[in-house]
């Protein structure tokens, strides 16, 4: 794992990413629902090939941040720069094409479609195939389909899932569905992939396999991975930078070691020390 070093702006990134533009920057991002401020002052910089963790107690606003980053929610305040370009006013599909892909907390595969077709949906924008060739199956249809099938199988193979290509996605076992969601997101050729609780419901051996896969994704595709996760073992092991969210605000940013010893983080997770002492005394 590389040392985390600061940009001139003060934001820290892995040393190897220092002379590259960050993949994602947010400045003072915030969103209100009615009168309620769900997330506020969310400023974060993610390095080009960084594995970054977003943690915090339930209801802290982590998934809301993901929804803002993918323009599912339009932020009320602040800016998002994806690969240096602002995403304001773009649709979710356009933001995806700009280079951000994600998975979901509760799996949202196209469960009636085959595993292969799920990945091919992810490849949608990289396949050149017009309406006429789609209807007639002529004019380059075969070539386009062949390329997309090959590419999809290649991606599936990366997660040892190529033999499941013909299976209906909804009938896969849980762990495989989680993996397929990641493959489908990777198929859109992102610069950063957002994983929403990728280890939820996994046993320790599946989790360690997942950790290995996340590192492989970063190393092979040279992209950044940002993940929301409650499994602290996973977060502390693979994340280079961690951002802790509580009640919609960032309470700490830093390396795993810094986060582990940060009093504000301990307080958010375990409650106030004062209270604990008071309870001990009484």
């Amino acid at each position: 794992m590389d040392k985390m070093v600061p940009y001139p702006s003060g934001a820290i990134v892995p040393e190897r990413d220092l002379n590259k533009k960050p993949i994602l920057e947010t400045h003072h991002l915030g969103i209100d629902f009615g009168g309620l401020t769900a997330v506020d002052e969310f400023s974060l910089t993610v390095g080009r090939t960084e594995i970054c963790g977003l943690i915090g107690p339930n209801g802290a606003g982590k998934t809301t941040v993901f929804n803002m980053l993918t323009n599912v929610y339009q932020p009320t305040r602040g800016t998002i720069l994806l690969d240096g370009k602002p995403t304001a006013g773009k649709t979710t599909a356009q933001v995806n094409r700009m280079g951000i892909a994600r998975t979901f907390q509760n799996i949202r595969l196209f469960s009636n479609m085959s595993v292969l077709d799920n990945v091919k949906v992810g490849l949608h924008n990289s396949i050149k195939e017009g309406f006429i060739s789609s209807v007639t199956h002529l004019f380059g249809y075969r070539k386009a389909e062949k390329t997309s099938t090959e590419r999809a199988l290649e991606l599936l193979d990366f997660f040892s899932m190529a033999d499941l290509a013909k299976v209906q996605a909804g009938s896969l076992p849980y762990g495989a569905q989680r993996r397929l969601e990641i493959v489908r997101a990777l198929a859109t050729n992102p610069g950063i992939i957002l994983l929403d609780e990728p280890a939820a419901g996994m046993n320790p051996s599946e989790t360690s396999e997942l950790m290995e896969n996340i590192r492989r994704i970063r190393d092979t595709f040279q992209i950044s991975v940002m993940l929301i996760e409650h499994d602290m073992n996973l977060v502390m092991n693979i994340c280079e930078g961690i951002c802790v969210l509580d009640h919609g605000k960032i309470i700490a940013k830093g390396t795993p070691d810094e986060i582990k010893s940060n009093p504000a983080v301990i307080e958010a997770y375990l409650g106030k020390k004062k209270e604990a002492e008071d309870n001990a005394e009484s």
Partner: protein, 293 residues
Amino acid sequence: MTLISNLINGISLGSVYAIIALGYTMVYGIAKMLNFAHGDVIMVGAYISYLSTTALNVPPLLSVLIAMVVCTVLGVVIEGLAYRPLRKASSLAVLITAIGVSYFLQNAALLIWGSAPKSFSSIVPFDSISLFGGDLIITSEAIVTVITCIVIMILLNLFTKKGKMGKAMRAVSEDKDAAQLMGINTNFTISMTFAIGSALAAVAGVLLCSAYPTLTPTTGSMPGIKAFTAAVFGGIGSIPGAMLGGILLGVIEIFATSYISSQLSDAILFAILIIVLLVKPTGLLGKAVKEKV
């Protein structure tokens, strides 16, 4: 012989219903809305074909193409102006809007083309086929209708089952938000669906009026409702279901008309629909939606 002749007429009428039902079912499958104006797009298609053959002296086949183009544009415009702004509104609001669009089209047609029925001349240039020494007459319209229906069915199946656009459509139909996050432009995909459905409606309009040559501004509404019934009958959202439902409905209608009573035929039709839905609420080929608890 009357049995066979009735069967052929039934399948032919059913094929028209099936083509219309495809439009209902595709739009329902992808946009999760009932486009009640679909029946009136048929009427517009028939008028366009009628006008281009009578006023412009266009050859029949070209007139069908013109009608298809006009209806495609009409379908996309209706979707863009009336339904797209309501994408996040309740389904009831969209339903009422669709009924509004339906009345709008009927009244616009009344205003433009008047209430006097036009007599539509068949676009099929061949003669009827007479078999068994004149005992069995198969009209050329019936043959053309059935063949058209089969060709459309095959093309549509190829289109949705394979290919990039078809996959995008199935993805949008399963989970619109997830599809969007995979970079699929859902608005464009929905527009495409309306375009295809409306082009098919134009074909259906021309075929319908070739077999039943009276054209008025309300010509599309009853076939529209029956085709909608056919789509529900076969399982709404399912393309083979719309086909099966349409053809069954046509056969039932013709049989009820000729063997029971022509006045009661619609009542019998809808009674059968109710019974089927009581026994199998998702329609003949519809998939039960599994709710995970």
